[in-house]
Amino acid sequence: MKEKLFKAEGLVLRTRVLGEADRLITLLTREEGKFEAVARGARRVKSKLAAGVDLFTHGRYTFHRGKTWPIITGQDTIERFNWFRENPDLYAYGLYFSELTDRLISGEEPCPEIFDHLLEAWSLFGEDVDRFLLSRSFELKLAHAAGYSPHLVSCINCGEHHVTAFSPRQGGMLCSRCRTADAINIDRGTLALIRRLVEAPLSQVGLLRPLSNQKKELATVSAGFLTYYLDLGEIKSRLFLKDS
């Protein structure tokens, strides 16, 4: 049996009203993966917990295992990412990252890389970062960590190394012989860009200077890739992004 009391370092992905004065918080934690927990009384003005369970908070939390959900019994804020509340465009981006994480991470197992990527992204949004590249890189990393790595190095069908097109339907690159009707031409530079976006730390993403056609191809691959694994239409926050 699991311990009644436990601690975790967490990021607040989502918060919902629960009953009269409580909130149900979706947390991504370093130690325990993703789960929902109850913040009792967090809607009250006098609540000591309210600020610590608001969106875009990085904190240390203590829990008591409840019947349905763990109950948050204590909280210490490590950092609050205030730019998301000050800038409505960043707010939309931040929530898009949260929603993608929530959808792609099942939650049962800890996923410390994603925890670190998300935390880094929250912090990078406070700088003058290229939101487009940061978003694409995060999407690719997230998919990678969730086990949906885009097959880019060789033809997904025959293994040929000279690949020329990306098939959203098959979720990978194809050679000229195996090319299917849904495939989109991808130039070599874009392919290199995608590999960098999967491998490089998010903080390095701003150093890349892709051409506009490469950005366009990247957007298609990334969207096509995500659509392959999840219904992008269901990612509601995506509709609110600007210049993405």
Partner: protein, 197 residues
Amino acid sequence: MVYPGALKKLVDMFCRFPGVGPKTAQRLAFFLLGCPREEVVAIARAMVEAKDRLSFCPVCGSLAEDECPYCSDAGRDHHLLCIVQEPRDVLILERSGQYKGLYHVLHGALSPLDGIGPEELKLEQLVNRIRDTGIEEVIIATNPNVEGDATAGYLAGLLKPLAVMVSRIAFGLPVGGDIEYADDLTLSRALEGRREM
């Protein structure tokens, strides 16, 4: 537990109320059973009447019966508008007795995760209202959380071209609390919103 059918139905209905669990529901049901019949009928009538008579004012979105008590009141300041998230918030501001202007209820806040954007909040309607009436000053009183703050920021940007005065309601320390327990954000806001003595 074996309940007579009618009692079970009543308890189930009470369970739908926010914050009411099975135990409270049972207590409420037994309270009703102990009341004289006329009183039970009066309670039931009041519920149905409220539901039938009350609606949202098409101009400001407040709860109104026939005529909106705020929009139709000539004694209020029609140059001043306060934007709130929920109809309940209007009642709370009214209770303070400090505010004498008009209201605009958004019926929510920007919440991309729930698919709620500017269109769902009918913000165009709000902009038109401010542009077409004599409103000079707007106070944004959305909740002091990330959602409410982001909504306030969005509104401020939207209202900029209208050249009205826009302010955000100040959030400070809750009355009755100890400064020691205030979080840093509450404290910094309380400092920003301080007043002369």
